[in-house]
């Protein structure tokens, strides 16, 4: 297609209705043509439009698209010039332009009060989160009582699918991370202990630290990143695709079908994962101790029994249950709050993972305070 430049000719002869000067436009006035003019055509047209007495003749224009029309319209100062001749098919676009010339309502800025407004919004959203979480918890309690009374309503399939996805499929990554942390911890603390001649206490140190603290927290962080994000994204996508609405219309409650199975599944899978991670971390520590300090694995296993009171084991399992419930609840909470657009989905998933990890660590700190005199030998 032959590209034709936008052209104009200014004539001093009376072009239209006795005007002193007239300008005739010709050629192609399209988006492609005007953006191809190297120096920009705006200034030239604006200079022409500066003369109010000028008569405009647009009948010679070969092709005028909306961009060309907007260019002229802006040069004319958002109104048609007093003297103008246009082909009828080009008239419509100027009519549309006249009609579209309304300012976009701007959202009122807060000005000097902006920080205060921001703080208010933040507090408001925090309160909103708290209420929503409380409601979710309440709904969960109601659903729990409901299925306890009607065992036929227990969503066994969903629970088992979730246990498989969040537990069984996470065995690999938790094993790897647990083992490596065990190796690192044993290696580093072994070096320190040796300077005091206290090598054999590595068993006590590792046993308590891993079973009581590190195993559950490590597993929880991994599960929050792995399964928590997946849960939030799944519920969020269901919102985007209106599947949540479809469930509501069919009378399938979100709480019982989406939230409850996830919470129950993580409450089951999480303590087992904690146990698994702790076990692998101890194995890692044992291997490193044997290699670095020549501490035999037989001695390691033998003394573990006396070094770590059994209460620590139960504490680790209990933490697992609590962490699992917290992660699932937070994932569902953020998932259900996602608005039907992609940006909200991304933000929701991020917020879900960050909040879950933060809450897990806060809960861990609470455990440490509450159970400070349980399972620790003098």
């Amino acid at each position: 297609m032959a590209a034709v430049e936008p052209r104009w000719t200014v004539s001093s002869a009376a072009g239209a209705a006795g005007a002193a000067r007239a300008v005739s436009l010709a050629g192609t006035w399209s988006l492609e043509a005007i953006t191809r003019v190297p120096d920009g055509i705006d200034a030239d047209v604006a200079r022409l439009a500066g003369d109010p007495a000028l008569a405009w003749d647009l009948r010679g224009i070969d092709r005028l698209d909306d961009a060309g029309a907007v260019l002229l319209w802006r040069a004319w100062g958002r109104k048609l010039p007093a003297r103008i001749e246009v082909r009828p098919e080009h008239e419509t676009v100027f009519r549309h332009l006249a009609a579209s010339d309304q300012p976009v309502p701007a959202d009122g800025g807060a000005g000097m009060l902006a920080p205060l407004v921001g703080l208010g919004r933040w507090l408001d959203s925090m309160a909103d989160h708290a209420v929503a979480l409380l409601r979710l918890l309440g709904q969960l309690a109601i659903d729990g009582v409901d299925i306890a009374l009607h065992p036929a309503r227990i969503p066994l399939k969903e629970i088992s699918a979730n246990v498989y996805r969040t537990g069984s499929q996470a065995l690999g990554v938790t094993a790897l991370v647990g083992f490596l942390i065990g190796v690192v911890l044993s290696y580093l603390s072994g070096q320190q202990l040796r300077t005091f001649g206290a090598d054999i206490y590595i068993v006590d140190l590792l046993g308590i630290a891993v079973i009581r603290e590190l195993g559950p927290v490590l597993a929880a962080i991994l599960v929050a990143g792995r399964s928590g994000s997946a849960m939030t994204a799944q519920i969020g996508v269901m919102r985007v695709t209106q599947e949540l609405d479809a469930m509501t219309v069919m009378g399938i409650p979100h709480g019982r079908r989406l939230v409850l199975p996830k919470v129950v599944a993580l409450a089951i899978a999480m303590p087992l994962l904690c146990l698994w991670t702790s076990a692998l971390a101890l194995v890692g520590g044992m291997v490193a101790a044997e290699v670095q300090m020549g501490l035999s694995h037989v001695y390691f296993i033998e003394s573990l029994r006396t070094a770590v009171p059994i209460a620590n084991y139960w504490l680790g399992l209990g933490k697992g249950v609590v962490f699992g419930v917290l992660i699932a609840l937070i994932a569902c909470h953020y998932g259900l709050r996602i608005r039907p657009n992609t940006e909200s989905l991304g933000r929701g998933v991020t917020a879900s993972v960050v909040s879950a990890i933060t809450v897990v660590i806060i809960a861990d700190a609470l455990f440490a305070v509450l159970f400070s005199d349980v399972g620790l030998v003098e």
């Binding site: 297609m1 399209s30 988006l31 492609e32 953006t35 092709r63 005028l64 698209d65 909306d66 961009a67 029309a69 907007v70 260019l71 319209w73 802006r74 098919e89 080009h90 419509t92 676009v93 549309h96 332009l97 009609a99 579209s100 010339d101 309304q102 300012p103 976009v104 309502p105 959202d107 985007v240 608005r339 039907p340 657009n341 992609t342 940006e343 909200s344």
Partner: protein
């Protein structure tokens, strides 16, 4: 008038999804300035053919040329120049949910990087006005809009660059009859002003009858016919009979005052 230039040329196109053959050896040419409508039963591969013309899917065999360039062999800059010359209206609108109405329509203009923001603003407001969206909706997000508004804004975005070639996938599905008619009028007036070529997939007989220059019928994985509406209606083909001879088809054709297929109850 000399023979119009071919805008889209499809030659020997075949499509397979696994073992299922969707298209078998299809040849189709879309000429400049015409409105070509693709019709066919559900699952006959209309939307797939449209997606192949857009380069979103690649056929198993055959070539698709747009503006004379083979999409499968085009260079990156060749594709870029083609993409600034066409527009597509997706069936569901496909508005960017994270952008406001204004930003959705402004996106293709801003991507050009050759227009200043004032010009972009005026152009966007003009396009929105043309599709009947009031300025007060410009700041809204797509999730706050009704289905019909999403469709009109998606259309405004499709025509943002004043494309020479416009693809429409079910443009009037989900619009009320009044809006459908308004949409048809809008396409007619845009065609006159911009000499636009339109390739459309539609089930809506009123839209088909009032816009189409030619109708292409896809059935049994082949292109059964490509002809003007009158010739198409006169065809002796089971699909044509079912499609045009129903009560709705006869009504739409009668309203236009053209040929009506014989028979029907």
């Amino acid at each position: 008038m000399s023979a119009p230039a071919a805008v889209v040329e499809i030659a020997g196109l075949s499509t397979r999804f696994g073992r299922q053959v969707v298209h078998r050896d299809i040849d189709l040419v879309v000429f400049q300035g015409e409105v070509l409508t693709l019709v066919g039963g559900s699952g006959s591969g209309k939307t797939t053919l449209l997606r192949q013309m857009l380069g979103l899917e690649r056929p198993a065999a055959g070539t698709v040329k747009v503006f004379g360039t083979d999409l499968a062999r085009a260079t990156a800059s060749g594709l870029e120049s083609i993409r600034s010359r066409w527009g597509m209206l997706f069936q569901g609108g496909a508005l960017f949910s994270a952008l406001s109405v204004f930003d959705n329509v402004a996106l293709p203009l801003r991507e050009l990087k050759r227009l200043d923001e004032g010009m972009v603003h005026d152009l966007v407001m003009l396009k929105l006005q043309m599709v009947g969206i009031e300025p007060k909706h410009a700041g809204k997000m797509p999730s706050e809009l009704s289905g019909g508004m999403v469709k009109r804004i998606a259309f405004a975005r499709a025509i943002a660059l004043d494309p020479e070639l416009l693809f429409l996938d079910e443009p009037t599905a989900g619009l009320d009859p009044d809006r459908s008619e308004g949409f048809v009028q809008m396409v007619i007036s845009l065609r006159a002003a911009l000499r636009m070529t339109v390739v459309m997939v539609t089930h809506d007989l009123d839209t088909l009858v009032s816009l189409s220059d030619r109708v292409a019928i896809l059935a049994h994985s082949r292109l059964v016919s490509v002809a003007t509406l009158d010739e198409t209606v006169a065809l002796d083909d089971p699909f044509v009979h079912d499609f045009f001879r129903g009560a709705r088809g006869r009504r739409a054709l009668l309203a236009r005052g053209g040929a009506v297929p014989p028979g029907g109850t």
